[in-house]
Symmetry: C2
Subunit: 424 residues, 2 copies
């Protein structure tokens, strides 16, 4: 305390929160945030004896740690002061150029100026909410939808409009009928945007078919409906042919496209990106300034240096090979151990599959029993905005070994059977 | 495009934004974001022939680049996979503990659980806005105030209530009178919080006196008024005795305290923190989940490893020694070169000083002339919420050498003189 004025001693003791009436003070703004079930479950995940299918974690043993270490060494030797200094809100220009160039190879034509680097793609969702949403505007979502997106959008208090999914993904014709009805009532201007994880969806693992993609792009133009395509998983494909991203089609140039290095490199570095028409990027940049000024400068450079010095495609190929085995292990185990009446999706890629139990069997109630048997999952209700999905759950297959997956599914199947017997 | 379905070719060409009516679509949410003058000025800053007092940049030549490189090497060797994996929203626990322990040494008693790691302290401002503000609530600010805070709070459309400052900082008695009037009218519950940079303020360089700190803490209790103390600069003290942070006093336990490693280590790493009562932390954590899930895991570990392996206090002492010389160079140059009628503050620390020109001389208009003479600053109006401050400007003294500072002030004084002559 060398700098303190000697006449008053600051209080050195640890202090209890006994002062202001915080609950009341926090209530004044009239907001009622919902906690995420995922958060509480991550506590369970951390226990080493629990086999967790709950998180959305990539396999840490596949992180290219040594390559990142070499990249860090090089970046800090060659460009250290710049990496540690404030940087532009839009992102570090060479990384924006790398993203534009890599996307072009995947059919997504864009300029570096249309790329905004974000603090994970979670931040892109947050910024889109800030830019497009206001209380009462309609936000079209898949049901189920990514819970983190729902959490990012919720503070803006939109009216969520959920649409069902089947094995071909979002029920696009249901969207068409809704849009027509809204237009007939003169309410089309209340439709903020449609949010889709079109490929290997989180949480369902389902991929939108080619025909539906084309139809959705048609609806976009007909109804001037912005579409946000969140695409963290499409590079994690396990063999099956998948349609290109919506943004890659002729007529898809207006799609707002979200990507990330979280799933193909490292989520801890928090580097994502969004590709959007210039007016949208400009507004998102202003919003990002108020949020965090800019994304971590060292991590942006590590991503670029990794991609320059090493072969990111070869790394993704390794991930695909490993995750394919895990997906297959989970599908095999489900087939062998789950009682009849239980159904699940068969994802062609990504990190998740989706299990539907017989009606009346609530997965939220099942979870306590499952955790006692040392296996965890996310109950499906959190991914729905309309209270449905009580008999569904999300399973992650990338963060456990094939042996753990088999053992975990055995435990899970035991929980389900025991619950079914109690219900019978 | 190995994964694409062969029947449709995605469009490979770069595409113009000719599709949806984005301006109209973006207008639907009814938000009108203000651009920041600082953003445009950073473009000027980048030109090497311009001496810029505009940004708020630390001196990059003082970054401990080699130490950070060694820390990165060690972290990635010892704990690489964890550094690259998803982490808890609250922050990495060992870093929360380090912050609590370092703050305790400065008289700020808190537990690690009361510390939330944020993506720079800019994010702490954003989260506080989300948690406390709603349209029409009153937000008490210093005039001038930190422009980044105004930008973080503005999306929530509070009513800004500015209070004047003098050489002892915020006019706390004016705050007292306002609070009493609000209470008399039964409107006290509309007061969201008071935001202050009490020590070496950005932009003014002024420090709140001890008496005013004590009186402000008294008001906090009397009126149940939350106080947010943003304290990025207090460690950058150039010799004068300064009072402890508000949060360090007995009776200051309810102050919400924001700190950062941006100014004392590196802003590019984007690691800040907030200390607050548990109910506030809990709400901020929920908000942060929707914003960016968690702060960069590698950067959090780099900060801790740097503090463990090296002597952060010795590093801060080096910064203080260098910045003191620069502050003195700027004060000397102003005394030597500025025409009479120009006034400025004499900050005891921090990164900025504040210049007031004769009434009628608008710094926004002066800037174009100054930039032509290859010197830049931030016009003061941006730091005011009530349209005042047109004859003020903020000067940064940490990002230029003493020689550049002298040369830049010569150019700036020439601009002012030329402008004065035209007005005369």
């Amino acid at each position: 305390m060398s700098q303190t004025d000697g006449s008053h001693r600051p209080n050195q003791s640890t202090v209890l929160d006994t002062g202001l009436p915080w609950t009341g003070l926090l209530g004044r703004a009239g907001k009622t945030p919902k906690g995420s079930q995922i958060r509480e479950l991550l506590a369970v995940t951390a226990r080493p004896d629990v086999i967790s299918f709950a998180g959305g974690l990539p396999a840490p043993e596949l992180f290219p740690v040594e390559e990142i270490r070499q990249a860090a060494d090089e970046v800090l030797r060659a460009d250290g002061a710049a990496a540690l200094q404030y940087g532009p809100t839009e992102g570090w220009q060479p990384l924006r150029e790398l993203v534009a160039s890599r996307l072009s190879r995947r059919g997504i034509g864009c300029s570096a100026g249309q790329v905004l680097i974000t603090t994970g793609s979670q931040q892109a969702l947050d910024l889109l909410g800030e830019v497009f949403l206001a209380p009462g505007m309609n936000l079209l979502v898949e049901s189920p939808s990514y819970v983190g997106a729902l959490q990012a959008f919720s503070p803006h208090r939109p009216s969520f409009v959920p649409f069902p999914m089947d094995e071909e993904g979002l029920a696009v014709e249901a969207v068409a009928r809704w849009l027509e009805a809204e237009r007939a009532e003169g309410r089309l201007s209340k439709a903020a945007f449609l949010y889709t994880v079109a490929t290997f969806q989180n949480p369902s693992g389902v991929t939108m078919s080619l025909d539906r993609r084309l139809r959705l792009l048609e609806l976009t133009r007909t109804f001037s409906l912005p579409v946000v395509e969140d695409d963290p998983y499409s590079e994690l494909s396990y063999g099956s042919s998948v349609p290109p991203p919506l943004r890659a089609f002729a007529g898809g140039e207006d799609v707002i496209y979200l990507g990330t290095f979280s799933k193909v490199l490292s989520p801890g570095l928090r580097v994502g990106y969004v590709v959007a028409p210039q007016p949208v990027i400009d507004r998102m940049v202003l919003a990002k300034q108020g949020r965090d000024l800019h994304t971590d400068g060292l991590s942006q450079r590590l991503v670029l240096e990794f991609c320059r010095r090493f072969d990111p495609d070869a790394h993704v190929a390794r991930l695909r090979a490993a995750y394919r085995v895990r997906r297959d292990a989970m599908l095999d185990a489900l087939r062998h151990h789950m009682p009849s009446g239980v159904e699940w999706t068969e994802p062609g890629g990504g990190m998740f599959l989706w299990v539907t139990l017989p009606e009346g069997l609530e997965t939220a109630a099942l979870l306590a029993d499952a955790v006692e048997r040392k296996v965890a999952f996310v109950p499906g209700a959190a991914f729905h905005v309309d209270g449905s999905g009580a008999n569904t759950m999300r399973l992650n297959f990338t963060n456990s070994t094939p042996e753990e997956i088999n053992q975990g599914v055995v435990r899970l199947a035991d929980s389900v059977r025991s619950r079914l017997e109690r219900l019978a």
